[in-house]
């Protein structure tokens, strides 16, 4: 009789007591399939132990920095009283360079704030009942779930599109800050993403219940938001004269473009 999978896992872990270990070893000497399972588990444990840390996306720090500066600015305003809002100045004023950069960051952060917390997961049926109510037909339940998914998808789509519109407005107005080659790279990447969104949208329209199509549409929106976030972050870094920060973002953009 084969040892159960728990015992073999504990054997692979090295956490089995001596008596049980001896029994398993005796079995393994005669059973190729259990031996294979233990070898595989050990391979997985070894590979898991060799996993390395992942690099956080380059845009993460500029996003965080914007959020922190906004929070500090807000705290300062609250402390200073109602008239301190005048600190947000006219962008055309060349003398208020740093304030303008803050204004730009604030505008981007407001758009980003709209996206935070919106973690749409296609195929998620959190609101659908696990068990059909007594008397309800299976098709009625399935129909209700499909409608709920479609409604959720439509809401997510509208949400993402609003966020994209806001970011696009900032990126388009400020694009002259970028050197022409970087702007062209961004434009090229945006065109590729737009094409993918358009194809996914068509797929969702023809097959509203298709999870791969929904997934692909949402991934397209996320990719576009990510790229626009990078663009705004890059413009901010260039305005601040932070060449190292800008280089990090450009390097990330090039990797995505490859």
């Amino acid at each position: 009789m084969h040892p159960n999978e728990t015992t073999l896992n504990e054997y692979a872990d090295g956490s089995l007591g001596a008596a049980e270990r001896a029994g398993v070893e005796q079995h393994l000497a005669a059973c190729a399939s259990c031996r294979q399972l233990v070898d595989d588990l050990r391979d997985i444990l070894r590979a898991t132990g060799e996993l390395e840390p992942l690099d956080a996306p380059v845009r993460a720090w500029p996003r965080l920095e914007r959020a922190i500066r906004m929070e500090r600015e807000h705290a300062t305003r609250v402390t200073a009283g109602p008239h301190s809002g005048a600190a947000v100045s006219d962008p055309a004023d060349a003398g208020s360079y740093r304030t303008y950069a803050t204004w730009l960051a604030a505008a981007a952060a407001l758009v980003l704030a709209a996206v935070v917390g919106m973690r749409y997961t296609p195929g998620r049926r959190a609101e659908a009942p696990a068990v059909a109510p007594a008397g309800a037909t299976a098709s009625a339940t399935a129909g209700g779930a499909a409608e709920s998914i479609e409604t959720e998808l439509r809401q997510a789509e509208a949400h993402y599109e609003n966020a994209i519109k806001g970011l696009e407005a900032i990126a388009t107005t400020e694009r002259s800050e970028l050197d022409p080659r970087t702007a062209a790279t961004l434009q090229k990447n945006l065109a590729v993403i737009d094409q993918a969104i358009s194809e996914s949208r068509a797929a969702v329209r023809s097959e509203p219940a298709s999870e791969p199509a929904q997934q692909s549409l949402i991934e397209g929106f996320k990719a576009k938001i990510g790229l626009l976030q990078d663009t705004v972050a890059l413009i901010n870094e260039m305005r601040k004269g932070n060449e190292a920060g800008a280089a990090r973002i450009v390097s990330g953009l090039k990797q995505k473009g490859n």
Binding site: N9, I44, P57, A60, I68, A126
Partner: protein, 174 residues
């Protein structure tokens, strides 16, 4: 040095906070991405964790290393996220487990590539992924995993073992 860094951050020095971020962001992002099972959610969690760290840095008393304090904060935030997501989905656990069943990949005897393993971990079902990440990746023992996830120790073991068996299938090891 930690005292100086904390004092600078508390005084509003964003460069000091960036230094803290640069030192620890990879570790925190890695934990968040693997616990959430998605790099996108991991990025959102990274933002939330560091924003929370910025707000709470005043509560750091120096009883532990700053990195340890930050890791605990990150871990708690990830666990809150996982719990809240699980609460939304708990009625569907069985269905989801069934939905994530798969055709095992053809057997491969080549060494496991790091990226393949990362993707396979992302595919693990809710529940067993968190237990696997905490036990096999982060190195907590089953008692600690059970406490962190609010489950029995035996459940932690069975979830971790289930995760390994699923990974075996995803990676073409059977």
């Amino acid at each position: 040095m930690t005292v100086d860094l904390v004092a600078s951050i508390q005084a509003g020095d964003v460069d000091a906070f960036e230094a803290l971020y640069r030192q620890h962001s990879a570790k925190i992002y890695t934990l968040a991405s693997r616990m959430a099972g998605s790099p996108e959610d991991g990025e959102d969690l990274l933002q939330e964790i560091f924003l929370q760290a910025y707000r709470k840095i005043g509560s750091f008393k120096g009883d532990s290393a700053l990195g340890t304090w930050l890791y605990r904060l990150a871990l708690n935030h990830c666990l809150d996220y996982v719990r809240s997501r699980r609460a939304k989905m708990n009625k569907l656990t069985d269905t989801l487990d069934a939905e994530t069943s798969f055709e095992p990949a053809a057997r491969r005897d080549t060494p496991i590539a790091r990226m393949d393993l990362e993707r396979a971990v992302e595919r693990l079902p809710e529940g067993c992924r968190e237990a696997f990440v905490l036990h096999d990746v982060e190195g907590f023992d089953h008692k600690e995993v059970a406490d962190l996830l609010g489950i029995a120790e035996g459940t932690s073991k069975s979830q971790v073992f289930k995760a390994r068996l699923k990974l075996r299938g995803f990676l073409g090891k059977r």
